[in-house]
């Protein structure tokens, strides 16, 4: 029996956010969508090309190659990051000594700018200036060409990404863990449940909302990866670590066709949208408040 006034309330609460979104994100995005039907070098007038861009994209082997590479990257980074950040959160949430220090240390990489991440990881994995190769050589081995071999470069990029984001998602898990009442664990202990059982039966299920956030945000973020790659490998060797947003950026600002780049982003959005819907279904609580 909601009163008229009560019905208005939610709209008022979302109003500020919605207004800013509409003006600064939705409108430009719609404009971008409209642009996807044109060819535009930004300096002269846009030229209408209908679905020409989309046809080019779907017949472009390079686009699908890049999408495939991006998917490989995303489908490796997301589960890894999820597991690592959860483990870190559990580790730090316990009554361990020095946990405040550890918490800060784990979070530090998340605060860094892409430039710093790129520089520091090149120091570790660089072919000539890298510390790992230095030690390998010192102890008589042959150095590995970390950044000039496609397979290794992908691995380095994946590791750097997990390292850079784990602390961030760890913080989200920590907040989520705070929301689980202590009494559940106490009751379970009285019933004789082991730590392992407590984790599977209490912690994980009650973390579902947080898990959804982590999975969705991490997937979206990984799909949009850009700055980190540019500073770490510049997309190399060749195109081995070139992902979708780098290509989109290149088309927009170097090849000089913002229309084609917009079309690519629409396709990116569709792929990502599908992935997100899948994740909502997976954790099964997407519609919780509405069911």
């Amino acid at each position: 029996m909601k009163s008229k006034r009560l019905q208005l309330i939610p709209y008022l609460f979302i109003l500020p956010n919605v207004v800013i979104f509409l003006v600064f994100v939705v409108v430009p995005a719609l404009y971008g969508f409209a642009l996807s039907f044109t060819r535009w070098d930004v300096i002269s007038e846009p030229v209408f090309v209908g679905v020409g861009n989309y046809i080019s994209i779907f017949t472009s082997s390079s686009f699908w190659e890049t999408t495939q590479r991006t998917l490989v990257y995303v489908l490796t980074v997301v589960p890894l990051t999820y597991v690592v950040s959860l483990l870190l959160a559990l580790l730090v949430d316990s009554n361990m000594r020095l946990r405040t220090l550890m918490r800060a240390f784990f979070y530090v990489p998340a605060m860094l700018s892409a430039v710093v991440i790129g520089v520091s990881w090149r120091w570790i994995f660089g072919d000539y200036f890298g510390i790992i190769n230095y030690f390998i050589e010192r102890y008589g081995g042959t150095p590995i060409n970390w950044l000039t071999t496609p397979g290794w470069a992908m691995l380095v990029v994946i590791l750097a990404s997990v390292w850079a984001r784990a602390g961030y998602y760890m913080v989200m898990f920590l907040a989520g863990l705070q929301g689980i009442p202590e009494v559940y664990y106490e009751a379970a202990k009285i019933d004789g449940a082991s730590r392992w059982q407590q984790f599977w039966r209490i912690t994980l299920p009650l973390l579902k909302p947080t898990s959804l956030v982590v999975l969705v945000l991490c997937s979206i973020e990984s799909f949009k990866v850009f700055d980190l790659i540019v500073t770490l490998t510049t997309g190399g060797p060749g195109r081995a670590t070139t992902f979708l947003v780098q290509d989109i950026y290149r088309w927009a600002f170097q090849r000089g066709d913002l229309g084609y780049a917009s079309a690519m982003s629409v396709v990116l959005l569709l792929i990502l949208g599908l992935l997100t819907v899948f994740q909502f279904r997976l954790t099964g609580i997407g519609g919780d408040a509405y069911e």
């Binding site: 930004v42 300096i43 950044l147 170097q254």
Partner: protein, 413 residues
């Protein structure tokens, strides 16, 4: 009475200051700039002098990193707020938005400048920009390493090495000095172009309508570049791993660096543990460098286009341009500034200027093509494929021709 007149005086003084402040409303010109060393400082001083001469003008420098220049300019133009002045590397790229300078400066204005810059700035018979400095590709080498290995670099242009000799000499240096590699080579298509010209080839046909790189010369240029990598003269980590060539040279890992005259200020300020200098580049079919340049222009929709043109005239005049180039260690594009009184590296400038002078016209005009920047990245990728042996040199130039012509076709209609 005295109080009254004192008050009156104060009011008068106030009125005068406010009045003169209102009268002295400054015109603020936005100058979009990217820097690569100390020329930013030199520019600031020149601007300070100009502002003294013109008290009603203020120039606001908007400095951006080079890789964001195009992006920034595009957003500004799209938003209807182009800068009043901009430092550009490719004029044709932005030609539709630039202000035609011919009515103000006259087409003859360009006569004072080196001929190979003309095609860069005169578009469809109109003067769209003015050159501010010229760059030349060239080789800087580690004198200590070469001395240690007992290898003497060519002392005169006639003594320049052939491509084959170049490989041999570098191998000797690497074998007899702490150098791990012979040559650091910048990861840009523009730098690779030097090899194309030295092999006698060219990028575009003379009428700029098609790609001309699919030739024996183009093939040879790629083949040589691959050879340099396969023989470990050039470390693979630059073109394949994003390694910074300056870093390699500065750290003494390579005996030389194929770059250009813009590195002089950087190396002068940052290398103090070994002697270095410039050396004549090798040749295959002919000697050549690559002409690059920076240009200053204004925009049709700028706030103060006329004031901007005045500044362009000032900045590119003989005296001011000489000062700018001399203090920044740049090569001047003005014919009457051919011999500048450089404080540092005069003998290196002689080498660069000589190499520019013997370069074929295409070494300047190719890169002036409005779409040169757009195909540059794609072509660089094709070279990388050749380095990885995924393409033979012949296949590489054929692919370049296909890809390049497709892009040209798309944009030229």
């Amino acid at each position: 009475m005295r109080k009254r007149s004192a008050q009156l005086l104060v009011v008068l003084v106030l009125l005068l200051t406010v009045g003169s402040a209102a009268l002295a409303q400054k015109k603020v010109l936005d100058f979009l700039w990217f820097t690569d060393g100390i020329e930013g400082e030199v520019l600031k001083q020149i601007i300070a002098d100009y502002e003294e001469l013109h008290p009603d003008i203020e120039i606001n420098i908007i400095e951006v990193p080079f890789q964001n220049l195009r992006t920034r300019l595009q957003t500004m133009i799209a938003g209807g707020t182009p800068p009043d002045l901009a430092r550009l590397v490719n004029v044709g790229d932005f030609a539709p938005a630039l202000l035609d300078l011919t009515p103000y400066l006259g087409l003859e204005y360009i006569e004072d400048f080196v001929p190979s810059t003309h095609r860069n700035v005169v578009i469809d018979g109109k003067l769209m920009a003015v050159p501010m400095d010229v760059t030349a590709n060239g080789i800087i080498y580690n004198k200590d390493y070469f001395a240690q290995a007992g290898v003497e670099v060519p002392q005169t242009p006639e003594e320049a090495w052939t491509w084959e000799e170049f490989i041999d000499k570098l191998q000797i240096v690497v074998a007899n000095s702490p150098a791990r590699f012979g040559l650091a080579y910048d990861f840009t298509f523009h730098r690779w172009l030097t090899l194309l010209y030295q092999a006698g080839g060219q990028l575009f046909t003379d009428d700029w309508k098609a790609i001309a790189i699919n030739s024996p010369a183009g093939e040879r240029a790629i083949e040589y570049f691959v050879e340099l990598h396969d023989k470990n003269i050039i470390p693979r980590s630059i073109w394949l791993g994003g390694e910074n060539p300056n870093t390699l040279f500065r750290a003494g890992l390579t005996a030389a660096h194929w770059c250009g005259n813009w590195m002089l200020t950087n190396y002068r300020d940052n290398i103090d543990n070994f002697e270095w200098g410039a050396m004549y580049m090798p040749y295959e079919a002919r000697r050549s460098s690559v002409l690059g340049g920076k240009y200053i222009a204004t925009f049709k929709d700028a706030k103060y286009p006329e004031e901007a043109v005045e500044f362009i005239k000032y900045f590119t005049s003989q005296e001011v341009n000489a000062r700018f180039c001399r203090d920044s260690l740049f090569i001047s594009p003005r014919l009457d500034n051919a011999q500048l009184d450089y404080e540092f590296g005069a003998e290196m400038f002689e080498i660069f200027s000589n190499e520019l002078a013997v370069s074929p016209p295409v070494a300047g005009s190719d890169w002036a093509h409005p779409f040169a920047g757009r195909i540059g990245d794609d072509f660089r990728e094709i070279i990388v494929e050749a380095l990885q042996h995924e393409l033979t040199p012949r296949e590489a130039v054929e692919k370049m021709e296909r890809v390049g012509n497709a892009i040209l076709e798309e944009y030229m209609n």
